[in-house]
Structures are given as C-alpha cells and as structure tokens.
C-alpha cells in the first residue's frame, strides 16, 4: 500500500515538473528568440533557423534603428509620459487614499462610491474622443497624461495599505497640531513606500505600453509619437505580408525594400521591452503583496 502511494506520488511529481518546465520554456523562448534575431545579421536572418543564439552576431540592427528620427522622438515622448504619468498618478492616488482612510471625513462614503463606479461604467470610445476634442487636448502631450490621472483601482490598493498602518500614528500627529496635509506628507507617505512601489510600477507600465491613444489622438503628429506606436506601425505594416502571401526568392529584394527586415523589427521590440524587464523583478515582492491586499479589500 505504502509503495503504491509513493509510486503515484512520484508519477505526479514528474508531471508537475514537466508542466512547470514547459510553462517556463513557452514563456521565455519567444523573448530569447526575439533577442537572438535582433542580434543577428539581418540578411542572414532571412535564411531562418535562428533559435536562442545569433548565428552572425552584430549590433548593426540597433545602430540602424537609432538612426530613425521617429524612434528617437518616440523614445523621448515615451520616457516623458511615463515620468509625468507616474509622478502625477502617485500623488493623486495616494492623496485620495489618505482622504478615504480618514474615518471622520463626511465625504468619505460619496467619494468611495464615486470612484468605485468608474471601474464599471464607461462612456465609450466616441463620447470620450469628442470630449478630448472639445477640451482641445487632441494634438497635445497632455492627452497622454490627464485622462488617466486618477485610477480608482490604484487608490483602493493604497487605501487598503493605509488601513493596515497603526492609526495611533495619525492621532498623535493630530494632537501635536499637525493638519491633514502635514500628516499625509510627513507621517503617512514615508510609510507607504511598498504600496507606492506597486502603484508606480502599474502606472509606469501602463504609460510605457500605451499606443492606442497615440494612434487615436496624435497619429499624424510626428513630434508626439511614442515608442509603442512606432513599433506598432512597423509590425503592422507587414502583417498581411507575413501571413497572407508567401515570400519567395524571386521578389525577395523587392520585399526587403518594402518592409523592414525581420532583425530590425525584433531590435525595436527589444528596445521597447528591455526597460520593463530591468524593473519588474525587483519590485516583485511589492506588487505581489499589493495585488493580494487590493483583491481582498475590494
């Protein structure tokens, strides 16, 4: 009996490790493949067969894409919107979270409902587009930052974190005559670091990854283009080419002139992905607790 149980358990272990390894490979392989292709000579790439190591190592693809004017502008705007969106978003959500955490505040119930509703009700694409137009935000940088300034989800994550802090801290500061803004700024904010790290990650990733607002509002404004939008244009331009018809030997040169070579596309993909890759593993501890807290409370 004992032996039979440990046998099935061993079989079970084998299956678990197989499945888990398979998941890891399926997740990692595409990224490694993209990286290898981006580092491979672009004419050689066309021959195919690149897996996780480049065959002819070169950095030419990277130097080539950095000579595109659109890419540099895109990089600049993407960095700017990420910075602005993250800083403003952190201020707004932490302030609102603090206000919501004050039990004596009369507007608390209203504010809570007012924010929560925005997570479920939305006016839709067209009314929103017309609103942006009426406010003259189209064709400006601020259309990237202002609409998403307050996110109810982020407010609730920070708020549940504040609720976990000892209330006595705030009370003693209050007795010392500090006003609410001082308590927020001097007492609460420094303690919020783990929650702020989580929310900062969400905000930064959201800003960095946005492309549709560029497409919708600033698609023809070259000085306001973003990195994701540039990548989208490059990838989409060959969508049908790579899926609809076969590329064969006779019109290869023609195709190469018309579309961006594979390696160059992959190099842009890497440029867009790397900043996230560098940041998220270090914030993992924070966002895991942040997500868990947020889900339990809301």
């Amino acid at each position: 009996m004992k032996v039979r149980i440990s046998l099935t358990d061993r079989l079970f272990d084998v299956i678990v490790y197989l499945v888990i390894s398979l998941v890891a490979v399926c997740t990692l392989y595409p990224f490694l493949n993209v990286l290898a292709i981006s580092l491979n000579d672009s004419t050689d790439t066309v021959r195919g067969g690149i897996t996780v190591f480049p065959r002819h190592l070169t950095f030419d693809n990277y130097s080539l894409i950095f000579s595109f004017a659109g890419l540099l502008t895109g990089l600049k705007i993407s960095v700017l919107r990420t910075l602005a969106g993250t800083v403003l978003g952190l201020i707004s959500s932490s302030m609102l979270a603090y206000v919501l955490s004050r039990a004596e505040f009369d507007g608390r119930k209203f504010l809570s409902l007012f924010l929560a509703l925005t997570m479920y009700v939305s006016g839709g694409l067209i009314p929103f587009y017309l609103l942006m137009r009426d406010m003259h935000l189209i064709g400006t940088f601020w259309v990237y930052v202002l609409p998403g300034l307050v996110s109810a989800f982020n407010v609730f994550i920070i708020r549940s974190f504040i609720d976990g802090l000892p209330y006595a801290l705030q009370e003693s500061a209050k007795l010392d005559g500090a006003n609410d803004f001082t308590i927020y700024w001097r007492v609460i904010l420094p303690l919020l670091l783990p929650a702020l790290a989580t929310v900062a990650l969400f905000l930064a990733v959201g800003q960095w990854n946005s492309w549709f607002d560029t497409y919708l509002y600033n698609g023809s404004k070259e000085h306001l283009t973003t990195l994701q939008f540039e990548l989208m244009k490059v990838l989409q331009s060959t969508q049908v080419g790579s899926s609809g018809q076969e590329v064969n030997g006779t019109n290869m040169n023609q195709v190469m002139n018309r579309i961006s070579p594979e390696s160059v596309k992959m190099a842009i993909t890497i440029i867009v992905t790397v900043p996230i890759l560098l940041v998220y593993p270090f914030l993992q501890r924070y966002f895991v607790t942040g997500m868990t807290l947020g889900a339990v409370k809301s």
């Binding site: 149980i5 099935t8 358990d9 079970f12 272990d13 678990v16 490790y17 888990i20 890891a24 399926c26 997740t27 392989y29 990224f31 493949n33 993209v34 067969g49 690149i50 897996t51 609102l96 206000v99 004050r102 004596e104 009369d106 507007g107 924010l115 925005t118 479920y120 009700v121 939305s122 006016g123 839709g124 694409l125 067209i126 009314p127 587009y129 017309l130 609103l131 202002l146 300034l149 307050v150 006003n179 960095w208 990854n209 946005s210 492309w211 994701q228 990548l231 990838l235 969508q239 049908v240 790579s242 899926s243 609809g244 076969e246 993909t269 867009v272 996230i276 890759l277 998220y280 997500m291």
Partner: protein, 305 residues
C-alpha cells in the same frame, strides 16, 4: 444639524477637501462627462452645433443598428471572445497555481513564478508581434514543431485562418496573463495551514487527494470572488488584441463591437451611430454582470453587489 455646525465641520476638515476636491473634478470630467455624450445616440449629431440645436431622432440610430448584419457579427464575436477569455482566465491560472505550489525546489518555484509574470508587463503590441512571429508559416517555431512531429504536412498560415482567430486571441491571452492571474491564488494557497497537509499525509492521502480535499476547498472563496470580479470586467474586453492580431483576411471573426464603433463611428464621422454601439455594448455588459452575479448568489450565497 444646523447650517453653522455643518459649516464648522467643513472648515475643520478643510484640508481633506483641499486634497480631494481637485481630483473629484478630474474624475468627473474624464469619467462622468463622457456619459453625457450618450445623448448623441438619440440625435442626428452634427459637429459644431450646440446641444440645443441638434436634431433629436429618438431611437432611429438603434433601429439602424439592429438592421445591420455587421452589427450582429460584431456582437457574436464580442460575446464569443469574452466568454472564451473568461473561462480560460478562470481555470488555467488556478491549475498553474496549484501545480506551482507542488514544486518542492524553492529556487525553481521562484524562478518560474518570476518568469510567468513577464508577459503581463509587456504591451499587446509586443505580444502581437511575438505571436505573429511564433506562428509564422516561414520559420515560425510552432509550425516547425508541428511539421517536425509529422502532425501536419506543410505549415499552416495561422494568422490568415478565419476560424482559428477566436482561439488565437484566447491563447495569446492565456500566454500573457496566466502567471499574473495566478498571483492571488498562490497567496491564498500559501495561507492554508500546513497542519492540514500534515494530517492528510498521516492518513495516507496521495498528493492528488490533498489537492482535491485541501488546496482547492482552501481557495474556494478566493475563486468565487475573482470569478465574479472578472465577470464585472467583461465590460472592458477591449479591442487591442483584436486590432493588433487581426487583419483583413480574418475580419469576419475579429471585429468586436468596439472596433465596429471605431470603424463605422469615428472612421466615417457617424458619431451618433457609433455612440449607439457604445451604449449597446455597455448595456449588454451590465446585464451580463447582473445575471452572473444573480446566478452566483443563488449557488453560493455570496455576492459582490
């Protein structure tokens, strides 16, 4: 309470008002004002005219909508991909979390977990690029494996197959979000007392039995809450994936309501018609939310509303 004492309370809490009112105005403008735009659906909206000069047409825009075959096509695509996404995002992360929890080598466990979050942080633009690359008929790894295993004779043009599109979107979604969606389940599993497993082991329960009788019941309420929450988010199934993964060859299966509104409303300047689509979309989602919540209330006596 007299007017004076209300005023005194407001003055006493003035800093809380300073800190919240500006943002309340922001939320009002960017989240609630667009709802006012819904009136457009009942007008023959003309750009440049004031609200009072618009021509009111009642439900004409909706009548036009319900006579359009394209609309029913978009509705079918939206519902199909919503439900497929819901089922996938509900079952697979639980499975992943349970299996990952069974990994005893803690280095491997942490490594796989970190890796599994990665696609969540990458944009849909990048994911669409990667999916297109992996499924490509020339040198795509999926086709190479399938051909290598002699399951197919020649590469399949995945991106051009209309009937595969729903599955394609769902699979891309699974690839991107499984690790992320598993976070909360993993935390819930970690909260189950080890003494339960201890007792089960003494009783000679196999690992599979332990999962069935301890792990899964232990995360039951988490599963229910998350399921209802994700039904609430059916409202925002989005169109990014469909926009980025779709192409003219699969349009019949890729056009969702939001894209239909984008193409026919914004693209052609038919703002009223497009808004009618948006409204219909929101109403359907709300109905889905209420129905789902009602069913769950009956079954589990738990509710989010």
């Amino acid at each position: 309470m007299s007017v004076i004492s209300i005023w005194q309370r407001i003055v006493r809490q003035r800093y809380l008002y300073y800190m919240s009112v500006p943002f309340v105005i922001f939320v009002f403008v960017f989240s609630y004002m667009p709802l006012w735009g819904w009136t457009m659906a009942f007008q023959q909206f003309r750009v440049g005219k004031s609200f009072f000069d618009q021509k009111w047409v009642g439900f004409d825009n909706f009548r036009m909508l319900f006579q359009d075959d394209q609309f029913f096509n978009a509705l079918r695509n939206t519902l199909a991909m919503s439900f497929m996404g819901l089922i996938a995002s509900f079952t697979i992360p639980i499975l992943f979390a349970v299996l990952l929890n069974e990994v005893r080598i803690s280095f491997l466990k942490r490594f796989v977990q970190t890796v599994s979050y990665l696609p969540h942080f990458v944009s849909w633009v990048v994911v669409a690029g990667i999916v297109t690359k992996m499924l490509s008929a020339e040198n795509g790894v999926v086709n190479q494996i399938l051909v290598g295993l002699h399951l197919i004779h020649e590469p399949i043009q995945f991106m051009a197959k209309e009937n595969l599109f729903w599955y394609l979107v769902t699979s891309a979604d699974i690839w991107k979000e499984t690790g992320w969606n598993a976070i909360i389940y993993l935390a819930a599993i970690a909260g189950i007392g080890p003494e339960l497993y201890e007792a089960a082991r003494v009783d000679g329960a196999s690992r599979l039995k332990q999962i069935w009788h301890i792990t899964l019941p232990g995360i039951r309420s988490t599963i229910i809450i998350l399921l209802i929450m994700s039904i609430g988010h059916l409202i925002s199934i989005g169109f990014e994936k469909q926009f980025l993964l779709g192409n003219s060859l699969v349009k019949e299966k890729s056009e969702v309501l939001d894209l239909y509104a984008l193409n026919y409303g914004l693209g052609m300047g038919r703002y009223s018609f497009g808004t009618a689509i948006n409204i219909f979309n929101s109403v359907v989602s709300l109905i889905l939310l209420f129905v789902a919540n009602g069913i769950f209330k009956k079954i589990t006596k738990e509710s989010i509303m």
